[in-house]
C-alpha cells in the first residue's frame, strides 16, 4: 500500500491541487456573483495588506524623482503665475459672492442644498499604490481598507468620472476592479438623449456601449453617465464619451465604442464613495451588522 502511494504520490498531489483550484474558482465565482466582491479577514487578506505598503515603497523613489522633475519644470515662471493667480482668485471670490447673493435672492440656494444632500455621498480619498500584476486583468490596489470604512461593492471615482468598483478589501488596503475589466458592466444613459444601455469593459482600454437601435439616439461625442438603475453606482456619474457608432445593421442591439472619461494610464488618486446602493446593502445584509444613517454598512467582521 505504501509502495503504491509512493508511486502515485505525484499524480495524487497534482490531482488534489487541480481540484482545489477548480473548486476555489467555482466558490469565488459564486461569491462574486452573489456579493459583488470579497471582504477578506485579517488573515486571508494578509497578502493584500502586505502588498500595499511594499508597492508604495517600491514606487516611492520613482515618484519622488518624477515629482522633483515636475516641480522643477513648474518652478519656471512660477512667480509671475502666482501673482496672476492671486488676481484671478480675488476676482473669482468677488464673482462667487455676487452669484451666491443672487441665488439666495431667487430662493434657489435651498433647492441646491437639497439636491446636494440627495446626490452627494461621503468620499474617502485613496492613493493608487499598485496596478494589476497581470496584463490580462484590470485592477488597482489602493491604500485604504475596511478600517477606513471601505467595503466590497463600493464605487470608486475621481474628478474625471467612474474608476471602478471595490472588489476585495483587507483592513488597510483594497482592490478595485476597473471599469475596463471584461467583467465590468454598468447600466448607463446618454446624457443628451437619455438613451439607455449597458457599458461593458472590453479588457483592452476601451469600453463598449450596448444599446437598442430602435429609438436609441447615440452620436459621436455624446457623454455617457450612470443611470443609477444598476444597483451599484449612483445616478449621474460620468463614464465615457462616445467615440464611434457603427452603421445600423440588421441586429436590434448595437455596440458603440466609448472613450473612458478617466485617464487610467495616469491614475494616481481616486475617491471611494462610502456608499452602497440599497440593492447592495440587501445583498450584504447577512454579513453587515448595522447600517448607519448615512447608508454606510458597518461590517461586524474584524
Amino acid at each position: 500500500m505504501r509502495e503504491l502511494l509512493a508511486r502515485i504520490r505525484v499524480y495524487l498531489i497534482f490531482g488534489v491541487l487541480l481540484v482545489a483550484c477548480a473548486v476555489s474558482m467555482l466558490i469565488d465565482r459564486s461569491a462574486l456573483r452573489e456579493r459583488g466582491g470579497r471582504d477578506y479577514s485579517r488573515w486571508s487578506g494578509a497578502l493584500l495588506e502586505f502588498a500595499a505598503p511594499v508597492e508604495r515603497l517600491l514606487t516611492a523613489p520613482v515618484d519622488f524623482a518624477l515629482g522633483l522633475w515636475d516641480r522643477y519644470v513648474a518652478l519656471v515662471d512660477v512667480k509671475h503665475e502666482n501673482e496672476a493667480l492671486h488676481h484671478e482668485v480675488a476676482r473669482l471670490r468677488e464673482e462667487a459672492l455676487q452669484l451666491r447673493e443672487a441665488l439666495v435672492a431667487s430662493g434657489r440656494l435651498q433647492q441646491i442644498a437639497e439636491m446636494r444632500t440627495a446626490f452627494e455621498f461621503p468620499m474617502l480619498p485613496a492613493e493608487v499604490v499598485g496596478q494589476d500584476a497581470s496584463p490580462w486583468f484590470r485592477s488597482i490596489l489602493i491604500n485604504r481598507g475596511r478600517r477606513q470604512g471601505v467595503r466590497a461593492g463600493m464605487p470608486v471615482i475621481n474628478e474625471e468620472g467612474v474608476v471602478g468598483l471595490v472588489s476585495a478589501t483587507s483592513p488597510r488596503a483594497a482592490q478595485v476592479l476597473l471599469l475596463l475589466e471584461r467583467q465590468s458592466a454598468i447600466d448607463a444613459i446618454v446624457q443628451r438623449s437619455r438613451s439607455r444601455g449597458i457599458v461593458r469593459g472590453l479588457g483592452t482600454g476601451a469600453l463598449g456601449f450596448e444599446f437598442v437601435v430602435r429609438g436609441g439616439d447615440v452620436r459621436v461625442g455624446d457623454v455617457v453617465i450612470t443611470s443609477g438603475r444598476g444597483g451599484v453606482y449612483p445616478k449621474g456619474l460620468r463614464i465615457a464619451e462616445v467615440s464611434e457608432v457603427p452603421e445600423p445593421g440588421a441586429s436590434l442591439l448595437q455596440t458603440a465604442q466609448l472613450k473612458p472619461a478617466v485617464d487610467f494610464g495616469r491614475l494616481e488618486q481616486a475617491f471611494v464613495l462610502l456608499w452602497r446602493s440599497p440593492t447592495m446593502e440587501l445583498i450584504y445584509a447577512e454579513e453587515v451588522g448595522t447600517v448607519s444613517e448615512d447608508g454606510v454598512g458597518r461590517s461586524t467582521t474584524p
Binding site: 504520490r9 505525484v10 498531489i13 497534482f14 491541487l17 487541480l18 482545489a20 483550484c21 477548480a22 473548486v23 476555489s24 474558482m25 467555482l26 466558490i27 469565488d28 465565482r29 462574486l32 497578502l47 493584500l48 502588498a51 511594499v54 508597492e55 517600491l58 514606487t59 520613482v62 493608487v128 499598485g130 496596478q131 494589476d132 500584476a133 497581470s134 496584463p135 490580462w136 486583468f137 484590470r138 485592477s139 490596489l141 472588489s167 482592490q175 476592479l177 476597473l178 475589466e181 471584461r182 467583467q183 458592466a185 461593458r200 469593459g201 472590453l202 479588457g203 483592452t204 482600454g205 476601451a206 463598449g208
Partner: protein
C-alpha cells in the same frame, strides 16, 4: 523557499512597474519563476510552489481565486516535460519556451475567463498585441532571471544536501 519568495516578490514588482510601463511590457516574472521551478525542483515540491505563486497572483489581481494557480500548475508540468527533450537550461531554447508558455498562459486565461465568467470579448487585435509584447518581454528576461534564480538557490540546495548526507551517515549526530 527562495523560489516562493522570488515569486511573491515578482508579483509585487510587476504591480509597481505597471504604474510606469504599459502592463504588457512588464515581464511576467512570476511565470518565469514557475518555469524555473520546473527546471530545478522535484515534481511534488514544484507543484506546491507553483500553485502557491498562482494563488498569490490571483489574490493580487482581478482574476478568480484559483484561475492563475491552475495555469501555473499546468505550466510547471509542461516545463518539466519539455525539459526532458529540449535542454531548457540553454538560453535560446529557454527564451523560445518562455515565449510559448506566455502565449499559452494568456490564451488559457482568456478561455477560463469565458468559461467561468459571462460577458467579455474574444480575441481582438489589442489582445494579440498584448500577448505578443509580453511573450517577447518574457523571452528576453527568461535566460537572465533563471540564471540568477539558479545561482541564488544553488548554495542552499547543496548545503541542505550536505546536511542530509551527514544525517544519513550518522556523522551529524
Amino acid at each position: 523557499m527562495i523560489f516562493l519568495a522570488a515569486g511573491l516578490g515578482s508579483l509585487l514588482l510587476q504591480g509597481a512597474l505597471s504604474r510606469y510601463l504599459p502592463p504588457a511590457a512588464v515581464p511576467d516574472f512570476a511565470l518565469l519563476v514557475v518555469v524555473g521551478a520546473g527546471l530545478h525542483f522535484t515534481a511534488a515540491r514544484g507543484m506546491l510552489v507553483s500553485t502557491a505563486i498562482g494563488f498569490a497572483a490571483d489574490w493580487l489581481s482581478g482574476a478568480l481565486l484559483g484561475q492563475q494557480a491552475l495555469l501555473r500548475l499546468v505550466i510547471f508540468g509542461v516545463t518539466r516535460a519539455a525539459n526532458r527533450r529540449l535542454h531548457l537550461r540553454r538560453p535560446l531554447p529557454l527564451g523560445i519556451f518562455a515565449a510559448a508558455a506566455t502565449a499559452a498562459n494568456g490564451t488559457l486565461l482568456l478561455g477560463l475567463s469565458h468559461l467561468f465568467q459571462s460577458g467579455g470579448v474574444g480575441v481582438t487585435p489589442e489582445w494579440m498585441l498584448t500577448l505578443a509584447v509580453q511573450a517577447l518581454a518574457n523571452a528576453a528576461c527568461a535566460p537572465w532571471l533563471l540564471r540568477r534564480l539558479a545561482h541564488w538557490a544553488a548554495p542552499r540546495a547543496s548545503f541542505s544536501r550536505r546536511v542530509l548526507k551527514l544525517v544519513a551517515t550518522g556523522r551529524g549526530a
